[in-house]
Symmetry: C2
Amino acid sequence: MELPGTLNEAVTQLKRLPGIGERSAIRLALSILSWDQENIKNLSSSLSGLLDIKNCISCNALCDNEVCSLCNDPNRIDKPIMCVVESMSDLLAIENSGEFAGSYFVLSGVLNPLKGIGPDEIGVPNLCKAAINRKISNIVLAVNPSIEGDATCSYLNEVLPDGIIVDRIGFGVPMGGSLEYLDSMTISQALKNRKTL
Amino acid sequence: MELPGTLNEAVTQLKRLPGIGERSAIRLALSILSWDQENIKNLSSSLSGLLDIKNCISCNALCDNEVCSLCNDPNRIDKPIMCVVESMSDLLAIENSGEFAGSYFVLSGVLNPLKGIGPDEIGVPNLCKAAINRKISNIVLAVNPSIEGDATCSYLNEVLPDGIIVDRIGFGVPMGGSLEYLDSMTISQALKNRKTL
């Protein structure tokens, strides 16, 4: 049996979401159908509302206005330390840890010359400007460990203004991790990054 | 950090979906934000399009028009066998098996006196009418095994028109299942439903 056209259209669109296959999409669509009209309208309008979201002119994070709440917070923006991430979801992950109290800069991904993604595309000039404007003395590169991530960090270390200490987040055994199941690259990093007790 | 308002609203709405928690909702919303505008509009409008879906006047399945494609198909609707399911998703599961070639009737759930859901609420009168109109001689109750499902089957067996053979789908070990991991109720059913080879 073919799905009714309107249901099929919703399933086609929901399948575009990450981790949602044909069966999950049908399940989601049928579940939405069981909601009352008001809730269906709210879901639909909240998603089209995402079209109004902006990027902070100072740090490139997603926000409702010109400047995001973190860049408007003197307790954060006036600190001399800045964390550089490659996506908004990484910024949220760091914020959730509660460990970092400085300001952020969100790159638009990482360098990938094969795909034509260079420093301008990911926003390196704006990062340099922000570092100077905010009088940053320490930058923490919280870029994911990958070939492109590593290359991006090396490049940033070269082009960031002189006099700024550039750190990269530490690599090693994750909390709750088990040496037995970790890959050898991680164990090798954990041994290199050992700390005297 | 608080999420931007529009993003937060989308996350709140996405969290209403089954199996989607806070983290998944944020992941979905950020992923949608990376789409181009046209695709975001398509997703949003396809979901509000679900408001237009109807129930087939003959079998109560979801459809775009008055009558669904199965009830419009003489190869299906003229067969003397009808399958009764408790939801559209169960109908789709049976259609996917390719094993059933008759017509359907979709109940609006199962009987649940404690929640005030009686025969009229789940559409039993319409089921009886459909059975007579379609000159059905055999009804297969493909209702899930649960206390309410069992009670619904017993009730339907009593009220369905005389002269119609009422079957219930078979219970036993699922294909690929392992006796070792199955609950004792299923094994007990599998033993009762054994077949001579």
